[in-house]
């Protein structure tokens, strides 16, 4: 992975935007002090991390993966199991869990090498679902925890009550802030990494293998190598999201494998704009707002969510980020013929 050419426009511009966004979120707790709201923003960070990486993998590298929640789970379970079974310190377990996700992605990526398009989707889905079913139907007690049976991978109840970041002792009443800034740090790393990848050489290579593998090959860009890199790098950051998820919620369970969750996060990516830079953030934010709004409508919650998905995708097929770009262009320069 080569250093980005910082003198070039796009990387610089987007990095600045990224830094601004991160700074804004860093200052947010000054304005928003409710624990519930801060908790919601933490959730936003986590889903946004997953969405950003999914966008790099699917939107830029063209890999139609449905295993992203598996990588989240790998990070979450990895962290929980590391702390519970290996006695690791939370801060050590998190990066280790992320690395575990990357290694898993390496294997899955290699399995997917000869596949294209929807076949990748199915293979990744099959692997994730197989692991899901094996986890929840496991009844063998690996150890006993407080007189309760604890399966190796947590069974259908998952892992809970393990050590978290430890901010309760440090900050007492303000422990949420500790979690907030920790997750924000992970979010910041992801944002900056994704921007650098998308607008650097790696992103160019990814888009080359996405758009025209034959031509890319003739220019020395090995499709297999870059596909695996895409899988591994995005999985590392996705696993990181999963690990901080587990540390924040003190829970890692099979609900991460729910098909509805998968669809939910996928729609964040698509509504935001597949292949854009900031789409995932916009999409995540929007979907969370819709869900929040829908919750307030009580019974009509699912109806609203479902309708929202349909409407967004029909009205804005290229996603919100594209719409935003087009809008900005129009406001700036009037009617310029596009490319």
């Amino acid at each position: 992975m080569s250093m980005p050419n910082l003198a070039a426009g796009p990387v610089q511009r987007h990095l600045l935007v990224g830094v601004a966004v991160i700074a804004a979120f860093a200052l947010l707790p000054l304005v928003l002090t409710e624990r519930y709201m801060l908790g919601e923003v933490i959730v936003f960070f986590i889903w946004a991390m997953v969405a950003m990486n999914w966008n790099v993998l699917m939107g830029h590298a063209g890999v139609f993966s449905l295993a992203q929640m598996l990588f989240v789970a790998c990070g979450a379970y990895g962290m929980a199991m590391g702390v519970m079974f290996l006695g690791l310190n939370v801060w050590a377990a998190i990066p280790i869990a992320a690395v575990a996700s990357a290694l898993l992605a390496l294997v899955i990526g290699m399995a997917c090498l000869r596949l294209t398009g929807a076949y990748v989707a199915l293979l990744t889905y099959a692997i994730a679902e197989m692991i899901h079913v094996l986890i929840i139907t496991d009844t063998v007690c690996f150890t006993m925890v407080a007189n309760n049976c604890q399966q190796l991978f947590g069974g259908s109840t998952g892992f809970s009550r393990f050590d978290d970041f430890g901010f309760r002792q440090l900050l007492r009443g303000n422990w949420v802030l500790g979690n907030y800034y920790t997750v924000l740090a992970a979010f910041a790393v992801t944002v900056l990494a994704c921007v650098i990848i998308i607008h650097g050489r790696l992103g160019l290579a990814f888009r080359a293998i996405r758009d025209n593998p034959g031509y890319a090959a003739s220019r020395g860009i090995d499709r297999k190598k870059y596909q695996i890199i895409a899988f591994a790098v995005t999985a590392f950051l996705t696993g990181l999201a999963g690990a901080v998820y587990a540390a924040h919620y003190r829970f890692a369970g099979p609900s991460l494998f729910d098909f509805s969750t998968l669809m939910f996060v996928l729609s964040m990516v698509i509504v935001g704009g597949l292949g854009s830079t900031w789409g995932p953030l916009i999409g995540t934010g929007l979907m969370m707002v819709v869900v929040e709004f829908a919750k307030g409508m009580g019974d009509a919650r699912n109806l609203i969510l479902g309708l929202a998905l349909v409407v967004f995708v029909i009205v804005l097929p290229k996603g919100l980020a594209h719409f935003g770009t087009v809008l900005a262009q129009r406001l700036r320069g009037g009617n310029r013929p596009g490319t």
């Binding site: 139609f64 399995a111 000869r114 596949l115 294209t116 929807a118 076949y119 199915l122 293979l123 889905y125 099959a126 692997i127 679902e129 197989m130 079913v133 094996l134 139907t137 025209n212 034959g214 031509y215 098909f259 509805s260 669809m263 996928l266 729609s267 698509i270 509504v271 597949l274 019974d299 699912n302 109806l303 969510l305 479902g306 309708l307 929202a308 998905l309 349909v310 967004f312 995708v313 029909i314 097929p317 290229k318």
Partner: protein, 292 residues
């Protein structure tokens, strides 16, 4: 020996339902290039439609099948007319339609939940009674399911291979532009495919509900399995989907008997993984010509 028969019976029964679902799904993918995430709900609506009508007026099985087909066909056509046809020409169609049909499925499931509640009603339109084959108890309903599936699939095969209607569908699936040059109204073809696939899904749903019970989420599992089958067969290959449906169902059945039901689905998935790694285009899939 008894176990073998039992495995075969279970496998054929499940395979029948999977085949009905998978053939429709494959038809939709092959012709419109669309992953229909709402296919499970098409099945569910077929089952509930029959339940409703039979609660009102009492239906013999034959009519039940007709109602299920009609319900499925209607929802299929509505999906096309109200949603799909507006999205067809955008380059992001493949991913967008996935999200859109997923959204539709969420809406439909919620509507079913609100209309009927979550109570697991049994499906009244079924045939009771058992017979014995080689010492194994086989329900008449299982035989009905197999027979219905066989008839439906043969009918679809005949339609696709021997009629002008079917030729137009196949032609549109292979090369839409060329089909238009022949005077085919491809918009109508799409509508017809959605109706046909919907009808098959409706029947599948009815059959599934006779074995278990009705519930708003009943379509989720069959949908997943139908997808798996379609991809293993090779996307768009309708015959392959039918064959693989039975193959995978027999395998799932065998694994279930020998190792425990718990392993049925995961092993099926394991098989999918192996198949796809060995044959990246599915068992019967063919390489599409890729131009630089």
């Amino acid at each position: 020996m008894e176990i073998i028969i039992q495995i075969i019976v279970t496998g054929l029964t499940m395979g029948s339902m999977y085949a009905l679902a998978a053939v429709g799904l494959s038809l939709i993918y092959g012709t419109l290039g669309m992953f229909n995430m709402a296919h499970g709900m098409f099945m569910t609506l077929g089952a509930y439609a029959v339940f409703t009508m039979s609660s009102a007026i009492g239906l013999p099985l034959i009519l039940g099948i007709v109602v299920a087909m009609a319900a499925g066909a209607l929802i299929g056509m509505a999906t096309h007319l109200l949603m799909v046809r507006f999205m067809l020409n955008s380059p992001e169609f493949e991913t967008n339609i996935l999200v859109a049909t997923a959204g539709l499925a969420i809406v439909l499931e919620d509507l079913v939940l609100k209309t009927y509640g979550g109570y697991p009603y049994p499906q009244p339109v079924r045939i009771e009674g058992i017979m014995r084959i080689g010492g194994v108890a086989v329900t008449y309903q299982a035989m009905v399911i197999l027979a219905v599936a066989a008839v439906c699939i043969c009918a679809v095969a005949w339609l696709l291979l021997r009629t002008k209607f079917g030729r137009a569908i196949r032609a549109t699936a292979i090369n839409r532009d060329a089909a238009q040059l022949m005077g085919v109204r491809t918009g109508t073809v799409y509508l017809q495919v959605m109706a046909l696939a919907g009808a098959l899904a409706g029947v599948a749903g009815l059959m599934i509900s006779t074995l278990t019970t009705l519930s708003p989420q009943m379509g989720g599992d069959p949908l997943l399995k139908a997808f798996v089958i379609c991809v293993v067969a090779g996307l768009g290959n309708v015959w392959g989907a039918g064959v693989c449906a039975f193959g995978l169902a027999l395998l799932e059945s065998a694994i279930g008997f020998y190792f425990g039901v718990r392993f049925g689905f995961p092993v099926m998935l394991m098989l999918v993984i192996i198949v796809l790694i060995w044959r990246p285009l599915g068992l019967f899939g063919r390489e599409k010509v890729v131009r630089l």
